[in-house]
Subunit: 321 residues, 4 copies
């Protein structure tokens, strides 16, 4: 038995949770950070304070950090993270000292994939593909029961697979990236383009200003039966299925798990995705198309997975194997 804390460190928030050996989230605290311009000190102070609070002042056995960035092979440093202030510092050592606990550090999507495979929708499956739809697309691959991080720790960058040559321009400087067609941003863009021309409750929700339109507005309007909002989910869902068909052709996972904020829409998103997957997957008539299910752990998947990696690292290895 031990006291395990997982922490999800994003660009504007720190989310810390006390996690039981069973993966259960016992309690959590959420802190906002001032965003992109924050210093490493402020982020680390916020982490220490959140961990201390969630642990109720008790000593902690180990802390797992899920960071929205690329982590080096040793698991000590964040080497590249557009929304975090770290640029290669030895975060693990610094925080280990300040927290007086063992610290493990990994990419947030990797942590979420590990959590879903261990405690969530993929429990008992030997392989799965996790795709998370937020502003963009992230995710992870679990193969033979372990997260595949890639040779440089960069596996799972699904959002920038090209699905349309000469397609929509992406912030990455390329064109036609999958996340331009299937993500929270794609949902909003679809709806925005119809604001002036199609009748929709979204015009009121955003007070006539397309710039104010958000993903949750589209989700709410779809729930209420708004046709434009439902069309947005159908479009995003179809493209989800098209892209998943490519990943299934390459990896043949036993299960596909869809998480992230957009996935709260459930079958409104997943049904068109299943249809498109069945239509787009080669040999779908000679094989079982892997089940496409919603993530089970919600927005806490990252911190739960980080805590689980911390538990697993007891014996020195970073991975539970």
């Amino acid at each position: 038995m031990g006291r395990w804390v997982g922490v999800d460190v994003g660009g504007t928030k720190v989310l810390a949770g006390l996690v039981a050996d069973t993966g259960e989230l016992l309690r959590s605290v959420r802190r906002s950070t001032p965003g992109r311009l924050v210093s490493a000190e402020v982020v680390e102070d916020t982490i220490v304070s959140a961990v201390t609070e969630v642990a109720g002042g008790e000593p902690v056995t180990a802390v797992g950090l899920a960071a929205a960035g690329f982590v080096d092979g040793s698991g000590g440093r964040v080497v590249f993270a557009p929304h975090l202030p770290w640029r290669g510092e030895d975060v693990r050592s610094r925080l280990s000292t300040r927290l007086d606990a063992r610290v493990v550090l990994d990419n947030d999507a990797t942590c979420a994939a590990h959590a879903e495979a261990t405690y969530g929708a993929g429990r008992g499956m030997s392989s799965l593909l996790l795709v998370t739809l937020g502003t963009g697309i992230g995710g992870g691959l679990v193969l033979d029961g372990r997260v595949w991080r890639g040779d440089q720790g960069m596996a799972g960058e699904f959002g920038h697979m090209q699905v349309v040559p000469d397609g929509a321009p992406c912030e990455c400087g390329r064109r036609g990236c999958w996340e331009q067609y299937s993500s929270g941003s794609a949902l909003v863009r679809y709806a925005r383009a119809r604001l002036g021309t199609d009748p929709t409750v979204l015009t009121e929700l955003c007070e006539g200003d397309p710039e104010r339109l958000t993903g949750p507005m589209v989700t709410a309007a779809a729930e209420d039966g708004d046709l434009v909002a439902r069309g947005a989910f159908t479009s995003v869902g179809r493209w989800l299925g098209v892209g998943l068909a490519n990943l299934v052709a390459a990896f043949d996972p036993a299960l596909i798990v869809v998480g992230g904020g957009v996935s709260v829409a459930g079958d409104r998103l997943l049904e068109p995705a299943r249809e498109a997957l069945g239509r787009s997957l080669v040999g779908a008539e000679h094989r079982e198309v892997p089940p496409l299910v919603p993530a089970a752990l919600g927005p806490e998947a990252g911190l739960i997975g980080a805590a689980a990696l911390a538990m697993a690292a007891r014996g020195g290895s970073v991975d539970p194997g």
Copy 2:
């Protein structure tokens, strides 16, 4: 020490080889089979005769079969193979009895990936992506030193990843599959479309009949400096790089190996592929783009890999681990 034989069983030929513990191919024999309409008996007779000949009449420790089709999880049966007569029979048992030797059976691209990882271009790499360009695109993924077969043994179906929505129609009934743009068939199709309009030596090589044009003609003409043939390789190479960028984004392998008949063109194919990969891969400026190298083992990779799997299966496990 043992006597290991690998056999590559394709739609129109059986290629058997005696393979040393070091992976060296000691000798080989090639037999043609009458093609698609052949019976299982004829194929099995051909295998037995080829194995007996290549073994010089001596007893054989184990035989590895690399089959151009999907093999079931137990490794005993070919469940689906468009160009082979087997439809689920227990091939492994039957041939084991007839050959009086242990027999292992696996998909040919899986065998080739195993061979390149063990003895070929990927020796010593913990992960690699093998892509083979023949009539279509096949391949395999090696992760943590082992071939990843997928949950249903169907991983590595790269050729049917969609790269162009509404693109070129594919024999699989879908549109825009990668192998319509990057394969031996794509090479020939590119050249055919220019036969009437651009000056090219290919017009003579195919005696004015576009139907007679073959991949090796295009390869030879490119070697001689023919501009249409070179254009074909540039086009196929670029699309190779574009598709590889998607696989690298998802999977982040340490190495990319390109095999298959088209790859004999070497840098004529690989240079445009490297350029396109560098341009298309997300974050190429923040990471090392994995090296893109030609396969080392040539058309014998499949049988060498099958023999290696047979060696590795000594202790009961199908995989050397």
Copy 3:
């Protein structure tokens, strides 16, 4: 008053008709020709014999020829026609002598556009766009009441406008041409790709052989409610609308007329086309989307138009103005 005969000269048939001043077709005869390898003599003999028969042995005032090829500016010669034996001979003079009548010669799609504008679906409209869906896509533009032939007589080659970059390969050697997505061939290709996998009466109609599948089979099956056949029309119709939106953006015609063999399916084709046109046309909310109607004159439109051009040429000008 006069006796006017129109003749439609295609790759495998000659269709001649006696046409009243009102455009009414009084009677017609059809002759098969032996196809691509036929000589100019055979085609001209067939024309003379068909004209003589349809005229009932009476003298003819003028004959209009609608040819499936490009006609030079003087209206005397067919300069390029893949399916006809003429390569620049002075057809008009030769036939004028043999028929002892004035002869005018024009492209068949131009003739059909003229006929639809004068006697058919576009009567009274100052401008229209005719699109004919047969094996490929042909058509014509009527502007200010006259067919626009183009500077080199090559206007109206709509079928080879590119609608999908890197799209389906076309016989013309390019990719993504409109007629690969919206034509009789596209209809058949759509259905063929589903023969093995979706339940459809087409499997019986073609006796299990995809090569035997024809457009009329798909039309008949759609009529009977077959889902694959209906899907084929929906797909071809949508692409029709997408391409038409481009032409309307450029030309802003008062009317769109759809003819050719595929158009016998009526609203099964035109409804999805109208929907796609409304969705794809820029400023559709600030303008009237031009009506999309079926051609009125059927397969005789070409010969009727040729006869009408012959009438109009009375005073020397080839065009009624």
Copy 4:
């Protein structure tokens, strides 16, 4: 003889010129207007003041107005113009009274096409296609010596022809419009995407802020040999040629004229366009590809064309015929 004034009325400027019977621009004045929120009164006051000044206080025979918007069939009202304050008022009557002169009103691209056909690059040609590359793509068609305005005055909306299905999102709410790939905006977008990753003088020119990057900066940098800027012109030029091939296939003009701000780059833009046109145009090997030439009249084409239409309207008809 008469005194003719042409006025180009755009979203942020009024450009008036005194034009000789020969089309020569004798003198011009330019006035800025406060932009989108300006009232109709302010715009009309500016027009009156500019006309008066350019006419040197002398009486004027007729004034031609080239407006950046759709003009109704009677030529009296601007019915839709995103950047102008008019919404259907009888502008022609009001200005005719205030200026004490005959006034004609037409769309600015129509005026420019008329000017190029009458006095510019297309003098003596019976047909031409004018494409202007500014922020977007505009243009006009000249047939039989007259501008084709379309049934509703909306012909020439080339910028929103779809060239990439599922392509780059456009302000019009659709995707893949031509002007997203070939225009001043496309030039800037291409360059912006490379600012962080490729070495380019543009980084300095825009002081490190991609939002400050403008088309003229890209033009200047290309002139200086900057590779990113030259790549931008090559890309925009190629897409120009691809789209032109579609228009030539449909319309077969004798000449293509390219105008607008981007066209000042000359062959840097036009050479890749010519190449792509030759490659993309169906039957290019059996026809003459129409010459692709720069516009001759520069930014004054609109006002010169408006003045020419005013001259031509002497006898009552709006068009010189």
